[in-house]
């Protein structure tokens, strides 16, 4: 077993992917010499060279576009978008080209591109640096969207993402980069498309992903003191959704709360709530509730604590499910 932070686990996962396949490349702004703003690619350029760990100009559209070209010719690029809010200049290439080319070629072309995006708030940053843009991409057919929440998953999910022949938007919870865990570097991970029950419980199903999984686990620990037994599910895959795990859980608990940092309005929670309602209607004791950000641009650091869902807001929603 090796103890690694989430950031170092991603680094170790990319390192292993690069070792096992010479077609795997890393590209992005300051990913080489600097090792990335969050040091996730630290040391990779030193060990694999400037041809495989490419420092790009400030040109997000160009980064994704050239990655598409590389992938069309058999390479497997891992692109780093420096911060969540910086992905929008690349949105055209991601949504218009990356997501659609496999269909245009009726499957003749594969686009094994991984777009890594540090996401979410909690580090005292501001707009562009704290956003949760996952719903823009889950809404786009042709993309697979995943989010890791802990070091163990980070290590295996990044390797699975690189092996996948479809384009993957890979969200990393930036405020959890420094969380540590023991990792067996040779143990296979849960498949990329699977959700995980990270804490079994009887009373309410909490559904989260990325940074909010830990928040939900803390909420579950607090609720235990009040005699409530909360189940926590880490979605891991945001598109597609692993509905089998969700259904099984909600059919047992009868209550479901979805938690994410992104604004609630047309966020991923809306899709989860709709699907759970359709599949588990006769098992539900209350409507599926959502906890998330407010409908405002991401606030400055002094107001961040009000904006971000926390343990109290999760528990408040749990209480509300018992009012029905």
């Amino acid at each position: 077993m090796t103890t690694l932070t989430l950031g170092k686990a991603l680094n170790a996962g990319m390192r292993r992917a690069m070792e096992s396949d010479p077609k795997v490349l890393v590209m992005g702004e300051d990913v080489g010499k600097l090792g990335g703003v969050f040091r996730v690619t630290d040391g990779l350029q030193k060990d694999f060279g400037e041809d495989r760990v490419i420092d790009t100009p400030l040109a997000e559209s160009g980064i994704i576009g050239t990655a598409i070209g590389l992938a069309l010719r058999g390479y497997r690029p891992i692109c780093e978008i420096q911060f969540d809010g910086f992905v929008f200049p690349a949105a055209d290439q991601i949504i218009t080209q990356l997501a659609k080319m496999p269909l245009r070629s009726l499957g003749a072309l594969k686009l094994p591109v991984v777009v890594r995006i540090p996401c979410g708030g909690g580090i005292g940053a501001v707009e562009h640096h704290s956003e949760s843009p996952e719903a823009y991409f889950t809404h786009t057919s042709g993309l697979r969207v995943v989010a890791c929440s802990n070091p163990v998953d980070a290590y295996t999910m990044i390797q699975d993402a690189v092996r996948c022949d479809d384009p993957i938007i890979f969200f990393e919870p930036k405020r959890r980069y420094w969380d540590k865990a023991d990792i067996d570097l040779d143990a296979p991970g849960l498949p990329l498309d699977r959700a995980r029950v990270v804490r079994p419980g009887r009373d309410v199903t909490l559904v989260a992903y990325g940074p909010m999984v830990k928040t939900c686990l803390e909420a579950a620990a607090a609720a235990e003191e009040d005699g409530r037994d909360l189940e926590v599910i880490d979605l891991r895959s945001l598109n597609p959704l692993d509905m089998a795990v969700l259904e099984e859980s909600v059919q047992r608990t009868g209550r479901c709360v979805v938690v994410h940092e992104a604004p609630i309005f047309t966020g991923l929670g809306a899709e989860v709530a709709a699907r759970v309602s359709e599949r588990c209607f006769y098992h539900l004791e209350s409507p599926v509730l959502r906890v998330g950000g407010f409908s405002t641009p991401y606030p400055p650091s002094r107001l961040e604590e009000y904006y971000l869902p926390d343990l109290d807001r999760v528990l408040d929603a749990v209480d509300r499910t018992f009012a029905y």
């Binding site: 790009t56 200049p89 005292g124 501001v126 640096h129 409507p287 400055p300």
Partner: protein, 382 residues
């Protein structure tokens, strides 16, 4: 020719370019035509920016400033030179390294510092922070945190000027600031091309501090002499020594004049060097101690001070007095910021829309949830 421009030894000597000035960059004593009071004013502004930025770094380290914080240290001559070329009626768009420009444009230091502190008395009510300084009255239209985000809007502001009025000495004009790294993002091309084909009164001023975060200009730009990029659009490009406040001002004035009088866009590159990291939290390990020392030797503030003293415009005593005054101004700004309250949480939704919008949910923790999430109380009663 461009002489005395700080740059890596490997950078090729730039040749003549369309519109290039022959005298820029040469260290000149202040000419007899320069007003001594104006020169002392430039020194005062540069000293103010230096003091403000050093204390900002300190306040960031003391967690008084949140978010990210990018300083103009080493760029003071460029900042003051560029701002000296603007009239109050001109519009200014900037990137995220914007504190100095706001100060030189005339923003009250206390309001700038309060914005960095995220306080309600800040220029943007504490909602913008370090990167998003706005002041419509000063015609400072941001403060843009995304690289290149300011370029198309600045071009649009120039289009509005061109719509409203004819070229002439009284025409307004736009200055759009950008960093060296910004010249590589797609918006740069779109904006300059539009400005050229529509003949817009705008000067794009590249503040080349030689590093895009940790990446040197040469590693990121196919044409590292960035002023030459204007030729793709037949936009006159010029390079000046960004450590020379008067050279920057003169070059900017000439381009602003063309923008005003002919509605012809211009491209100015001022080459300086960023003394510290990309942001306050960046230790800048990507550059060597020798390189850092070499650029410290080119520090524009002591150089300008020495130049003014040599030219008899400033004496040691006056310089020391100005330094003291700027220190006091910055201390007062910090006090003002620190004693101002943060924005109240119930203003979280203020300003999201310009007008009241029906049916937009603006609930806060503790408020009744939105329609469709019926409240506990209602349910208990039903």
């Amino acid at each position: 020719m461009v002489a005395n421009t700080p740059g890596p030894a490997s950078s090729p000597e730039p040749g003549p370019a369309h519109g290039a000035r022959s005298d820029v960059g040469a260290v000149r004593p202040p000419g007899a035509s320069e007003d001594a009071e104006v020169l002392r004013g430039y020194y005062r502004q540069m000293a103010l920016i230096r003091a403000f930025e050093l204390r900002s770094a300190e306040m960031y380290a003391r967690a008084k400033i949140g978010g990210y914080c990018h300083l103009n240290l080493g760029e003071e001559a460029t900042v003051v030179g560029l701002m000296a070329a603007l009239r109050p009626s001109d519009y200014l768009f900037a990137g995220y390294r914007v504190h100095g420009y706001a100060l030189a444009r005339g923003a009250e230091p206390g309001r700038v510092m309060a914005e960095l502190f995220g306080r309600v008395t800040g220029m943007s009510g504490g909602r913008g922070g370090s990167m998003h300084l706005f002041d419509a009255g000063l015609r400072l239209l941001g403060g843009y945190g995304i690289v290149g985000g300011q370029l198309p809007p600045a071009t649009g502001a120039a289009l509005a000027i061109a719509y409203r009025g004819a070229p002439g000495p009284d025409s307004e004009a736009v200055m759009c600031l950008l960093g060296d790294g910004t010249t590589n993002i797609g918006a740069f091309h779109e904006a300059l091309n539009l400005a050229a084909v529509w003949r817009l009164p705008i000067v794009y001023a590249i503040v080349n501090n030689q590093l895009g975060m940790g990446t040197p200009v040469e590693a990121a730009s196919g044409e590292p002499e960035l002023f030459r990029r204007g030729c793709s659009y037949r936009i006159p490009g010029e390079r000046v020594d960004g450590n020379d406040v008067l050279a920057v001002r003169d070059a900017a004035l000439a381009l602003m004049e063309s923008a005003r009088e002919e509605h012809r866009p211009g491209l100015l590159e001022a080459v300086s060097y960023r003394i510290r990291g990309h942001s306050v939290v960046d230790p800048a390990r990507y550059r060597s101690a020798e390189e850092t020392q070499r650029v410290r030797d080119l520090d524009p503030l002591p150089a300008f001070r020495a130049r003014l003293i040599e030219g008899g415009v400033l004496d040691q005593e006056t310089a020391a007095r100005i330094d003291d005054e700027t220190e006091r101004t910055v201390t007062a700004a910090i006090e003002f910021a620190d004693t101002s309250p943060p924005p109240p949480v119930d203003t979280l939704f203020d300003g999201v829309y310009a007008t009241p919008v029906p049916n937009v949910f603006t609930g806060l923790p503790g408020d009744p949830p939105p329609d469709g999430q019926t409240t506990v109380t209602t349910l208990g009663e039903s």
